[in-house]
Symmetry: D2
Subunit: 348 residues, 4 copies
């Protein structure tokens, strides 16, 4: 076995890639009692419980559109099924994510590949030699990633040469997976099935970027482009059509900022929209650097983006607390009374 305390034991790609990451199943345990207990405590436990409470309020609010934002690598680290279950069980209406979360991780596993348990103490030169890529304590087979890049290129080649939003292109990927996925139930495929739009505002900054550059290179005259302006307009349209809205944010980054900015964008378009009414963020980022990823939700309220009545930061690495929050919501069954919003349909 790949011993994290003695990382040198694994000498070759085969031994490095021995123990796949298995994604946690929030239906297999019931965290309600834990969350209820944490609600009576302090520090991060209480923050976690308060975030749970706000998420349950979002689910109870029939008018509330729930945006899930994903940044960081939690999908690689065992949370991938949480996100697709949130879609499956109607706990999220729109996804805004980094390209890596959607393409390098979710699409990658849908193609039948896996992430592997590794060690952050491993010598990187040895990994390099073996074409093993490392995300903190998790490994990926670089050659499999290249298959992923290439498949994106193939999908792009098969499409009409015109500007796409990332949402439109990811919908095409969903269509592709209906026929070609090796692993069923990926986030892309489940979202496709349920008309949940997925936006990747910095789409090129991922494995998708490699595939799309190859596509343009192959077809210098007739190729697709990504119109990230129109995609911002699309996301804003969803905000405009939502009476109320809530944000469930894993990490920060471009997805966090992008979805918050829809409020400002709607205003600039002359539309009367409310601030996001509910907001929770799970992050280890540190507010002191003044970056958006780490900016508190209170700060966002000064910009008129997020209301402050129902917001909760949880300063924790998401893999440790997200399973509790999501399992609590699953077992409370509030989702059973929600109607699917099917926002993909509004774009025809």
């Amino acid at each position: 076995m790949n011993n994290p305390k003695n990382p040198k034991m694994g000498h070759n790609k085969k031994t490095f890639l021995e123990t796949p990451v298995e994604h946690i199943d929030i239906t297999s345990f019931d965290s309600r009692k834990i969350i209820e207990s944490m609600d009576k405590m302090s520090f991060t436990s209480r923050d976690t419980a308060k975030a749970s409470g706000i998420f349950n309020e979002m689910l109870s609010d029939k008018n509330c559109t729930i945006f899930l934002t994903l940044a960081g690598s939690t999908s690689a680290a065992g949370c991938m099924k949480i996100y697709s279950d949130m879609v499956k069980y109607n706990m999220v209406d729109v996804i805004v994510a980094t390209g890596a979360s959607i393409i390098d991780m979710d699409f990658f596993e849908a193609l039948g590949f896996k992430h592997y348990q590794g060690s952050q103490f491993q010598n990187d030169a040895l990994l390099r030699e073996n074409h093993v890529d490392r995300i903190y304590d998790t490994y990926i087979d670089e050659e499999q990633l290249q298959v992923c890049d290439k498949t994106i290129c193939d999908i792009a080649d098969s499409l009409e040469a015109k500007p796409y939003t990332s949402r439109e292109f990811i919908k095409e990927i969903g269509k592709y997976l209906k026929n070609n996925s090796k692993k069923k139930g990926s986030l892309i495929e489940t979202s496709y099935d349920n008309n949940i739009p997925i936006f990747c505002p910095a789409f090129t900054d991922s494995s998708a970027g490699f595939g799309l550059v190859m596509h343009q290179e192959k077809k210098p005259k007739r190729h697709m482009t990504i119109d990230s302006i129109r995609e911002f307009r699309e996301l804003t349209e969803i905000k405009i059509r939502s009476k109320s809205s809530g944000l469930f944010m894993i990490g920060g980054g471009v997805p966090k900022n992008f979805v918050q900015d829809t409020v400002v964008c709607a205003e600039l378009l002359g539309k009367n929209v409310d601030m996001h009414k509910y907001a929770i963020q799970i992050t280890v980022a540190d507010a002191r650097d003044g970056a958006c990823s780490s900016s508190t939700l209170k700060e966002a309220s000064s910009w008129g983006k997020v209301d402050t009545l129902k917001e909760q930061m949880v300063f924790a690495e998401a893999t440790s607390v997200l399973p509790l929050i999501a399992s609590d919501a699953y077992h409370r069954n509030i989702w059973k009374n929600r109607q699917r919003k099917s926002f993909s349909n509004i774009f025809g």
Copy 2:
């Protein structure tokens, strides 16, 4: 209710001190399935599961003396019952803690007082006016703390004037609580009942210090002192008498360093002892500042204090992950086969 989103609503001590912190009960939920799932993930979830695994190994190792170290304010924040349950269910043999954890928090609640849920955003000047002391998002009635100080003084007044180790003095507090505690089952009382020694290497740096200074001031000629040298010798004696040892560390600080140093101290006394064989630490501290609290267990191994085969850092705020680790251990029942080590008895 004390609204953390609108902290100004609470105007007086009564409204500030409305919602007591309730301590989580690890027997009331079963986290085994969660820990097992996290073991197959990555990042902090896996670290948490690995720490659980190492703790279970400590419990299985009949020769292993388990040292629990406490720094920080998790006892105030809802983990107090976890620690007394760990003693009750024979999952720990020795405690090394900050004075605050033992006196300001555990003894304080044993006297019938409580900690309260508050807000880190509350204006501190208003708290000051109301004699409410704040620990991050948790409140304490300052006047009750003064009762706590005074009781320590009374206990000291009642004792023979001689040097005590903190262990000896805390044993006297245990004796006092047998007759006077308002809340039964405190960590001090449970430890007293089970002959578990408690050491506070910086004992004066707490509410105890206030009481003991008052005691010396009242009795300038005949008073007790704390001999922290002998107490280091006592703790080292326990290490010397242990075939094997493991550390379960909440936060860092003096308790972490003190218990690790017993290995070096034993060597300097000419005794042949092993490094601590097992070690887990839950902390948010950041290794980059070179302080002991944040130093990794690998670093400790360079000093010959901790073995590296069975060590795990969990970078998390303890209230969020400790309940999972402790509940897992409780439900696995390994503790049922452990013999009590009753180390208090070796000191007569």
Copy 3:
């Protein structure tokens, strides 16, 4: 004055926006002696000095293309002139940045607006009422930001309706500023003057996004788009044409990942390029969350993106150490012997 210790004193926009942030001038003090001393110390001081040393090596290496990446809000916080001075004094060849750094901050000040010293403890509801936006402890006049958005729309309206890369569009902004800037010497204008390309891979996720959505809304049939695929190809072309390359990264985010990915992209295009030979990153991010922003440069080497011989992470908030590194480099005068690479010219 705006008292950070008594934030309530400022009641209206005028009093909130009283003390402008002034940008530090690295030519006005000489940090060489400090850096030399820090090189002989440990912890973050030594990391800072090592980063200085690597930057000086980049400047000495005639073949080295220097990429400056900007994420976070250091431009708002007083580092804006550092970046334009780095361009002015030929210490950087390419810039990859968040849209906010370039548009909301640099372009914003070029239009004659300012950032203001504020307080992270200020009540955000009061800021909201006064249309003052907060970045940690720094304030912005929201109405001025809207002028910035609108100006972007005007520039877009004036251009030919076709797909632009962010680089091409920012070049047009530079052209606009040549005639219209109120503050001379902005990063955009200085870069324009010196043929330094600026890339914003998530361009829409900024004030630019607002302006461009307005532009498309006004001109539904004939409007510009941003082709972020081609822009990745352009950045990769620069990497391909560079014998050697170095990264000077402020924060992480999309800019960090994007510029590192050029190595992989070049390979996929069949080009033989070296890993980035030099790399320094200043960040407060925490590697434990497995996100790219916080991933160490050693981790990047497992992906074949960054060489490990000359890399240094500096775990610090950039405003505190960047002035030392940049002033050291300025005063060593190595830049005087560098030839301008004028990469803007390769795109015609």
Copy 4:
């Protein structure tokens, strides 16, 4: 040379211990211009400048007793001379420190030993084999540390068998160093020369503890003890005799808490004292864990320990910003007009 990028190159103790840490000399560069510039910026740079400003106010306030507290390992990392220069140039009146800062680091170097530049990536097993102890990226010769332990034992053996406060014992060490120091100008010796008392409230938790346990073991009947209660009373006496007081805190830990607690202790003794009027703390600790080390100075004000008008947290690793603050204060020469308080003298 010891290559931090290729830590395996150093195979034996000699090659590990090749490059000594050299302590930065705040008189050799003038940071005033940098601090003045940072005062006009935001984020950590402004916090640093504000801390400088408060320190200069402390120095200007003739009534202000300045307490320097030291926790963490900055003395090992190149700041040792800063602290002794602060004493030499009359910028500090009392020192409260961890035992490690005073004994393992300052006394250790006074005996002629050194700290060495190392690497945090070095394999700790190899260090262990070579008896090299690691503090993050800094190395120590373990055998030299044992000489340090033993010397403490010798000093204790030479003293009258009675209870000492750590202050009294450290004064004896100062006396010893007058005749025996190999390196002149250590913090202990300079403090001894200038009647600056040094307190170590958790004294046993250091190399001193090892020496003192050996001492008691050698002399089971007649030995010294450390009375940490009386030492708290002594420190409180200094607070009582000070019209005004200010705290300059490096890290947190027991020293921070201990010195803050003097206000409460004085009150309990019926003395009328003010809160600490000025307070600055440099730390990387994270307030979210509710521990004292990381607790903000605003939180301390709820306890009535620290006034909030003149307090500043600087969230930075101290080696990176302390040299700037201390050099600024040195070059402003305010210290030239201060009178020595010579607090050691009040204890006879």
